[in-house]
């Protein structure tokens, strides 16, 4: 299959602030029309990377190429890209309409044309028409989000950048806006480059995800790749509720888990694997009636349970470990706290990662 043409290309991109290397030798191709998300904890350099792509920072070394044209020295106002800021950076001294039309006004588009385009965008983003003359400070959080989106879309940019725009928004609204963003991506067909510290958020929206740590991209893949084959402990922990068991390869190919005093069957080992962590997702861990029901088993005590709406989460104490198990409501464990339980998993449901 022919690779689709990259619209944006980073080649050995590096940014240093004094002695600090914020972005370290990042090379990445972003395909035309994809929703690419860069995920990393705060301080991982993802915002700096995005600001270089938008033209708000100059790279210390390396190149940014837009459709194979080097744009390192093209300032932000000359790039066909737009950014939605973490703070949204709405112009509080202007109305909704003036905010959305800003980029068109800067380009000298006539008042009538501007207004028509603005109303079209407001319609697309489901902002009521009478918001046109309203002060942005009088809009709710979700409405401000849509104004920021409309403003970024107004000049019809090739690429939209998003700098954690949903991080300060409450859970319910965030879920709603994640869906809206993904729909907007589909409706516009534009390239979206999004950064967040939440892998969960990235999973929902992205075509591809890049995991960033200490200035470097350590894993790039589809949400499914990253979910099923996390590269290392850092990536798997980033995903949230997973069970990580420290293991080393025994002479017979089985895994020795010293902390639990058990031996476990091994999934396919990554090349050169000797020791690391066995990752078992909480939903793949099962309660067993008898040890024979699964390839591997553990004995423990049910410590607590948490209702998560459609699912129930259990914490089982086994040795020094607190094992996390998640079940659908209808498969809930029927028993009470402090029960002695047997839990287990099959090798095919586990993954080995290095440290």
């Amino acid at each position: 299959m022919a690779e689709p043409a990259p619209i944006l290309r980073m080649v050995d991109l590096t940014k240093q602030f004094g002695k600090l290397t914020a972005v370290d030798n990042v090379s990445l191709d972003i395909v035309d029309g994809e929703f690419f998300t860069i995920v990393g904890p705060s301080g991982s350099g993802k915002t700096t990377l995005l600001r270089m792509l938008a033209g708000l920072e100059k790279p210390t070394a390396g190149d940014v190429l837009l459709r194979e044209q080097r744009i390192n020295n093209v300032p932000a106002n000359k790039r066909p890209t737009c950014m939605v800021f973490q703070s949204l950076a709405l112009f509080n001294h202007r109305t909704v309409g003036q905010n959305i039309e800003f980029s068109l006004k800067m380009r000298g588009v006539s008042r009538l044309e501007r207004r028509a385009r603005c109303l079209e965008l407001m319609d697309m983003l489901r902002l009521p028409k009478d918001y046109y003359g309203k002060s942005v400070t009088k809009c709710s959080g979700g409405e401000q989000q849509r104004v920021a989106l409309a403003r970024a879309l107004a000049s019809d940019p090739d690429i939209l950048f998003f700098d954690e725009p949903l991080s300060a928004i409450d859970y319910r609204l965030r879920k709603l806006l994640e869906v809206e963003l993904k729909d907007l991506h589909r409706a516009t067909g534009k390239t979206f480059v999004y950064i967040t510290h939440s892998l969960e958020e990235a999973m929902v929206m992205s075509d591809r995800i890049g995991i960033m740590r200490e200035g470097s991209l350590i894993q790039i893949g589809t949400p499914n790749d990253i979910y099923t084959q996390p590269l290392n402990k850092f990536v798997s922990e980033f995903m949230g509720e997973v069970n990580l068991i420290e293991v080393r390869t025994g002479s017979d190919g089985m895994l020795d888990c010293d902390s639990l005093k058990i031996r476990a069957t091994s999934p396919t080992k990554p090349a050169g694997f000797t020791d690391g962590f066995l990752v078992i997702r909480s939903e793949f861990m099962r309660f067993l009636a008898a040890p024979s029901e699964a390839e591997n088993h553990l004995r423990g005590v049910l410590y607590n349970e948490y209702a998560l709406g459609s699912r129930v989460q259990y914490h089982v104490r086994a040795g020094e470990h607190m094992v996390v198990i998640e079940k659908l409501r209808e498969q809930a464990y029927r028993g009470s706290l402090n029960d002695d339980v047997i839990i287990g998993w099959d090798a095919k449901d586990s993954v080995l990662v290095s440290d």
Partner: protein
């Protein structure tokens, strides 16, 4: 927080009102202002309607003093003072804006020492500083003329004792009053909004016009107003540097109260100055959102 009771109609209600902690704590300063600020103003207002050379509150009310201002060319002092003030404001805005921009956005950790250097001259009395300028500008023996002659053998005249040197003094003395409110105004401009404007296609000039200027406007307005009001009432610059070649309004008022011993005319001049300045300031203040300036909203 206690709610303020309705308008007191009886002594008991009035006493209740004074038990409010806010009212109670504000009372000393209120009395101080009534005696020290409002009182004298009322007296001046009263005197301005009394006949020529009256020294007590007796005699018939008259508007003669006000008519005299216009019939005897006192109004020229108004023109000079308001003209000087306006030119000072314009010059100071142009000088202060770039410095303020540097202090608020560019200098970073050097802003504090730089501010200190700018503030330091304020510890010295205004008159002393103006005498410094006189020594600098003096003809023949002055620092400027002397240096020119010593170094280049050029005989120069002097800027002293002309409207130009008065203006120089006004600009010099009132620059900090324009500068610091603008620094405050510019520091309210969020970097994100400047970045966003650039990202949306605005060039440097458009960012200035669309983002920085409107957001910093309250600070700019306050700086301008402060300078204007102070410069209208300025007297030392015109007396020392200007050598009394023009009589500014404060000088005219001082003259009437002292040398001419005509309190009513002096009062009328003072009242007219206050009224004109007040109207101009109120007009400008209507464009000002103090809450926004203080970051409450």
């Amino acid at each position: 927080m206690a709610t303020r009771p309705a308008r007191p109609t009886t002594v008991a209600a009035l006493a209740g009102w004074f038990r409010e902690p806010g009212v109670l704590t504000a009372t000393p300063i209120l009395i101080f202002f009534l005696i020290g600020f409002v009182g004298p103003l009322v007296i001046v207002l009263g005197f301005s309607f009394l006949p020529e050379r009256t020294f007590g509150f007796h005699g018939d009310w008259t508007v003669e003093n006000y008519l005299q201002i216009f019939s005897e060319s006192y109004y020229i002092s108004f023109v000079w003072s308001f003209g000087f003030a306006a030119v000072t404001v314009v010059c100071n805005l142009l000088i202060a804006y770039p410095i303020a921009y540097g202090l608020a956005k560019v200098f970073g950790r050097w802003a504090a020492p730089f501010t200190l250097i700018l503030v330091m001259p304020l510890f010295v009395s205004e008159n002393v500083r103006l005498f410094g300028w006189m020594l600098f500008l003096l003809k023949g023996g002055g620092i400027l003329a002397g240096s020119m002659e010593f170094l280049f053998g050029v005989e120069t005249g002097t800027l002293l004792y002309a409207s130009g040197s008065t203006l120089l003094g006004l600009i010099y003395v009132y620059l900090p009053f324009t500068l610091f409110p603008i620094v405050l105004g510019l520091s309210m401009v969020p970097k994100d909004q400047v970045d966003a404007a650039g990202d949306l296609g605005a060039n440097r000039w458009q960012i200035f016009r669309e983002i920085e200027l409107p957001i910093a406007m309250p600070g700019i307005l306050i700086g301008g107003l402060l300078t204007f009001v102070l410069a209208v009432g300025a007297i030392a610059e015109a007396k020392l540097l200007g050598g009394q070649n023009v009589i500014v309004i404060a000088h005219a008022i001082q003259h009437e109260f002292t040398y001419a011993q005509n309190w009513p005319l002096g009062s009328a001049l003072a009242v007219l100055t206050i009224v004109i300045t007040g109207v101009l300031v109120l007009f400008a203040m209507r464009r000002l959102d103090l809450d926004m300036l203080l970051g409450r909203r």
